[in-house]
């Protein structure tokens, strides 16, 4: 094996030829050792700093946890029996807030509707809820966001064979101007055979687009299939609570 003089390391012939062909000289052994020590020192320093940071953070977190526990109210000086009695009373008060009789639960994420009574489920249905899309009035003065509202509502009114009174957004969405005459807004047959109003213009109603049930496609109302809607309409009286999440 050939040996190079001076500072170059002893290298296999192949590497030597390769380095020479690129016009390079292989670094010396001393240089490599120094570079390695420097790199190791940097890495060790970084590890030490990180360890200090993590240790300090850990201690601060422990202090914060202890402080939050110290700030919480001390346990009431009551006997076990008294605590249990209070627990039952509080649980009773919470339970009393739940609806009595029939109520409706709508899951807008999974587009399901459940008609419940006394803790049991009477009927479930696949529905459609709000698309979440936005529509801007070309005049720039109004904007609609087609969400189904969340929270607690109740059935305000029930209607058979409802006509759809098209609101302004329905015309604007189709590139038309809202008509001046009220009669030009009436569209029969679009909402199915029944509708249950729950406020602010929102309904549970039927649909022609049964293939889209289970998807978020409406302008905020809840659409249900005919048979499901009929059951809901005939079972849920006015005043029935509706929970939408």
């Amino acid at each position: 094996m050939d040996e190079m003089e001076g500072d170059s390391v002893r290298a296999p012939r192949g590497w030597q030829l390769l380095a020479e062909s690129w016009g390079m000289r292989l670094p010396s052994r001393e240089f490599l050792a120094g570079a390695s020590l420097f790199g190791a020192g940097i890495a060790a320093g970084a590890i030490v700093l990180l360890a200090i940071l993590v240790g300090a953070g850990y201690l601060v977190a422990k202090r914060d946890a202890d402080a939050s526990l110290a700030a919480s109210p001390p346990p009431k000086a009551l006997s076990q029996t008294a605590l249990e009695r209070r627990n039952r009373a509080l649980a009773g008060r919470l339970k009393a807030l739940a609806p009595r009789g029939t109520y409706i639960v709508i899951d807008t994420a999974r587009n399901t509707l459940a008609l419940r009574k006394n803790g049991g489920t009477l009927h479930t249905a696949v529905v459609s809820s709000g698309s979440g899309n936005m529509l801007d009035d070309p005049s720039g003065k109004r904007q609609w966001v087609f969400d189904t509202p969340r929270g607690e509502f109740h059935v305000i009114a029930k209607v058979e064979d409802p006509d759809w009174i098209k609101p302004d957004w329905a015309f604007i969405e189709e590139g038309e101007s809202p008509p001046g005459r009220w009669s030009d807004r009436v569209e029969p047959g679009m909402l199915g055979e029944y509708a249950l109003a729950f406020g602010d213009g929102y309904f549970i109603h039927g649909t022609l687009y049964t293939r889209l049930l289970g998807r978020n496609v409406t302008h905020g109302c809840i659409r249900a299939a005919d048979k499901d809607l009929e059951y809901i309409y005939k079972t849920a009286p006015v005043g029935t609570r509706i929970y939408i999440y």
Binding site: L53, Y58, D64, V105, A109, R150, L208, Y243, Y245
Partner: protein, 223 residues
Amino acid sequence: MRRVILAVLALVLHAPFAWGGLPLDSRNRSIEAELDLARKKEIYVVFDLDARNVEIKARGMVLKTFAIHDVRLWGARPAIEPLTLKARRAMAAPRRERIAPEAKPKEVEIRQAPPSGQDTFDIKALELADMPEAYALVLDKDISIRVRPYRTGLISSVGGLGHSAWVILRDSSVSVMYALRGRHYGTVDIVLDPEDARALYWAFLDGARCLVLAATPTESIEK
């Protein structure tokens, strides 16, 4: 050596917040806090870290339950009181579509069933599948809840270790920064099924309120 490292990691990840179950006095306080939420016509969320459940509730009723696979607390413990969601932060937050006004196809075209059962409708809407699986819920009182999806598999396990190391480093840094500003920092990490994580993001809207129930190791019942 490997066992020692794993043991140290396990200690750091879980100590010093050992569980003990919610004592009766704390349960009473949690019900009192929930009464404050249940009296209103609103949907609220209860993070029961002791029972490992997230519940979407209204009027004290459970509407939906999500099982928590894993829980980790860091720093200040959330007090048993209603907290308000200030913001949801995700890397890929869903965006609403803007409707471009155009003439709709005739009704008869929509009602006809498409050939071979294929859905020919291009639905542009915010749906559950658009929701993120990993995000942070920023509550008031300097408390945040970070939600991660549950994953299985070797790659997920290795990635999980790396994530845990990163989380420790991040939380340590933030704790120190908050301490320098004279504030307390606390965070809760929970792991949910991906579908449940998306559903929670969907249901827990900005401005909604919640309860975070965590067992306190030092409380005990006086007999």
